[in-house]
Amino acid sequence: MTDFQQQALQLAQQQTAPDWLQDLRAAGAERWSATPWPTRRTEHWKYTPLAPLQKTDFGGWGQAADAADIEWIDAEAPRLVFVNGRFAPALSSAELPAGVVRFADAGADQQAVIQQHLGQIVDSERHLFAALSNAWVEDGVLVHVPQGAQLASTVHIVHISTPEASATTASQRVLIVLEAQASASVVEHFASTEASQNGFVNSLTEVQVAADAEFRHSRVNLEQEDLIHVGGVHVNLGRSARMKGFTLAQGSRLKRIDYQVNHRGEGAELVLNGVYLPRNRQLVDYHTNIEHCVPHGTTSETFRGIIGDSARAVFNGRIHIHPDAQKTLAELSNKNLLTSGKAEVDTKPELEIYADDVRCAHGATVSRLDATALYYLQSRGISQAEAEVMLSFGFINELLREAPEASVQSYLRRRLGWLLGRPEPLARHLEGATS
């Protein structure tokens, strides 16, 4: 066991979790200590060194702090806010839609739902940091929508990091259970105060979408660049279930996000779009794994990245068609723009197919902005800097406008100049840019 693995176990012991979570915590701790620490030879971590975790001494758990200057994605929408992993009642909405509750406040029925699903959707043998999340679970958010019901409004779950005296850790856990024919839209927003950070956030979201249910999900990771974040979204899709997902991440010292979607019921549909925008010396690593276990599933996955300065992006998109998953349609596209001579991208779209009557395709490209397009814009009197920004914006806007929540779209467009590290020229072009 490495120092960090030891430290993580000690941190788990410092927590006080309710009795009904103890089994999960023990199993998680066991799995965490039994799993060998990933190295460069571990395929899933080949391009993403975990050295930043090893090098930091995490003294303890994050503490509640004030973080009122965060710009909310939608100030009106009901939200649950956690600061450094601690629930912040002052920042959260007093009224939440029915079915949304913190683990700490869960009633007996809700506890039963949590116990039934929590830790069951994610494969913690495959995902080391999911095992850690199990070991660390103390509080979390449950979104439970009963059969045929619709979540009254979009729920925002916000996780804010603030700098602390010494490096600290935070765990963020979300469980979303949609019963048959239910529907819900959830926004996960990870943010930090502008000051430099020193924490580590381990986040895990598990989603059960039952037959004919519809799930819309947005997840934006916009923390400061010196924060370490390892997170995962793990989804089971039931028969004819639908999921529309959108994710956007800026880089940080170490930012790794896993998406795993299991087509468990026939005829499920998945649309997953993602954008990553690392710059400076940041790293973003997206690993997606779509398992088609049954016939007639559909997957459409598109990830795009703009990598600047000395940043690095890693993308690994796996589509696995099991032997019986006939009539599957699956497509994956990954396009990357390198905007600097020191930037790097490592991408690996994977197809693993064991059924013959399927149509699967993937594509990946890496290049810089198209010189012809730049020339065209410049010949129309637009400066090179502006032309670059316009084309970069166009490159990701195709995905942005597919984001399931309008509030997420407009929020990200407002902040796009900041996201691309080019505030002034971009702002002019974005005024009035609604789609």
Partner: protein, 480 residues
């Protein structure tokens, strides 16, 4: 259509090259230690530096672990149960001309359709025939010599051209490169050596034909091709083995050096015994092939892989010089219980380097075929370009087709494009062909041939015909 499939599976043709030649051989008892390495070196009468080179590789190999990242499954190979040297007795006193070669050996090659008589049909091809651990005969040496081209067994080159061998052997695939390359470096017994002098265009196609014959032996051949500035050569390689129930190991190393403005075209038609319909027997084909391109040079790999029980093979190009070009065209066909994990690596170091990868995988029966490739754009690869296309065709619902492309780009002016598709032979296409009076098998054969056309047209003419036929035979009985 499933009835048709079954009847076709039953009528599957036998592996035509699966016979065994009864011939007296000197075969080293199974096992591997430093003495075996020294014995092979002694048997070849090698100079001291060569023996040391082998021992260095052997010691490195002892420290290495067998790679397990490939998507293939096979029981562990017991390297102590393999015999590392086997040569027909009749080769002891080095026959000087074709007339002195054991007629049994010649008959073997005749049966395989390999022209060892220079006046024969494929007279435009010079052949080096390697039988188990030794080279039997190399044709057209005189004619090639006149052009200044050296084409001889590598064991001979060690004596005749030691300075060339010393300079280039291991320069592209070092002894410690990987587990199987290290093993090969320690025990390689024969193979071909080709040297094309400056500005020479090799007057004919060169080819090596590998044959495994003895039981329990492994074949470890080593090929080294050096193309001097501005030269050009086209080289082909073919291979077969008898049908046996046990698995045999083939661990080869091929090194290509293309100096400034040179061009090497390397084609392989690999037809090792693939094992029977139950997956019993067959060759483990663990091969390291790599070429280095200097300024303006070009290396083109073309492979048609239809044989072997397990294939682990990644012909690669290091595009070191500016404007150099790497190409990889591959058809990998697996049937029954065959497994193939094959692809390429294109390492772009120089400016304006270009690479093209066209990989076609066809899986049938219970087989698994994977494309695994790496395209790396280093910071110096200004203006480099790569295009990759991987298509997989599935025939039957028990097989698998996988694609694992690694793309690493560190230069914004480099453009990398990768696309991959997987589908089956569509019912519509089959229906259309059958409606026009073609039977199912012929129709699939046509569709598959069309699917592979981009690769076949890269092969030298004689091989393209052979490859087409090979594909038909290998696919027989798998149509659905």
């Amino acid at each position: 259509m499933s009835e048709q499939v079954e009847s076709l599976i039953r009528s599957r043709k036998e592996y035509a090259a699966g016979f065994h030649t009864s011939i007296d051989s000197h075969t080293l008892p199974p096992g591997l230690d430093e003495d075996v390495v020294r014995f092979i070196s002694l048997k070849k009468g090698e100079p001291e530096w060569m023996t040391e080179w082998r021992l260095k590789a052997y010691r490195a190999w002892l420290e290495m672990k067998e790679p397990n990242w490939a998507k293939v499954k096979y029981p562990p190979v017991d390297f102590q149960k393999i015999s590392y040297y086997s040569a027909p007795k009749s080769m002891d006193d080095k026959p000087q001309s074709l007339d002195e070669v054991d007629p049994e050996l010649l008959a073997t090659y005749e049966k395989l359709g390999i022209p060892l008589h220079e006046q024969e049909m494929l007279a435009g091809v010079a052949v080096d025939a390697v039988f188990d651990s030794v080279s039997v005969v190399t044709t057209f040496r005189k004619k090639l010599w006149e052009a200044g081209v050296i084409f001889c067994p590598i064991s001979e080159a060690v004596h005749e051209y030691p300075e060339l061998v010393q300079k280039y052997l291991g320069s592209v695939v070092p002894q410690k490169d990987n587990f199987f390359a290290a093993l090969n470096s320690a025990v390689f017994s024969d193979g071909s050596f080709v040297y094309i002098p400056k500005g020479v265009r090799c007057p004919m196609e060169l080819s090596t034909y590998f044959r495994i014959n003895e039981m329990n032996t492994g074949q470890f051949e080593r090929t080294l091709i050096v193309a001097e500035e501005g030269s050009h050569v086209s080289y082909l390689e073919g291979c077969t083995a008898p049908m046996r129930d046990e698995n045999q190991l083939h661990a080869a190393v091929v090194e290509l050096v293309a100096l400034d403005n040179a061009e090497i075209k390397y084609s392989t038609v690999q037809n090792w015994y693939p094992g029977d319909a139950e997956g019993k027997g067959g060759i483990y084909n663990f091969v390291t092939k790599r070429g280095i391109c200097h300024t303006n040079a070009k290396i083109s790999w073309t492979q048609v892989e239809t044989g072997s029980a397990v294939t682990w093979k990644y012909p690669s190009c290091i595009l070191k010089g500016d404007n150099s070009v790497g190409e990889f065209y591959s058809v990998a066909l697996t049937n029954n219980y065959q497994q193939a994990d094959t692809g390429t690596k294109m390492i772009h170091l120089g400016k304006n380097t270009r690479s093209t990868i066209i990989a076609k995988g066809i899986s049938a029966g219970h087989s698994d075929s994977s494309y695994r490739g790496l395209v790396r754009m280093n910071p110096g690869a200004e203006g480099a370009r790569n295009f990759t296309q991987c298509d997989s065709l599935l025939i039957g619902d028990k097989c698998g087709a996988h694609t694992f492309p690694y793309i690493e780009s560190r230069n914004p002016s480099a453009i990398v494009e990768h696309e991959a598709t997987t589908s089956k032979v569509s019912d519509d296409q089959l229906f259309l062909c059958q409606q026009r009076g073609l039977d199912a098998e012929k129709a699939v054969s046509m569709i598959v041939n069309g699917f592979c056309r981009e690769v076949f047209r890269e092969l030298p003419m004689e091989f393209a015909v052979e490859a087409g036929k090979l594909l038909e035979v290998s696919l027989e009985g798998s149509v659905g």
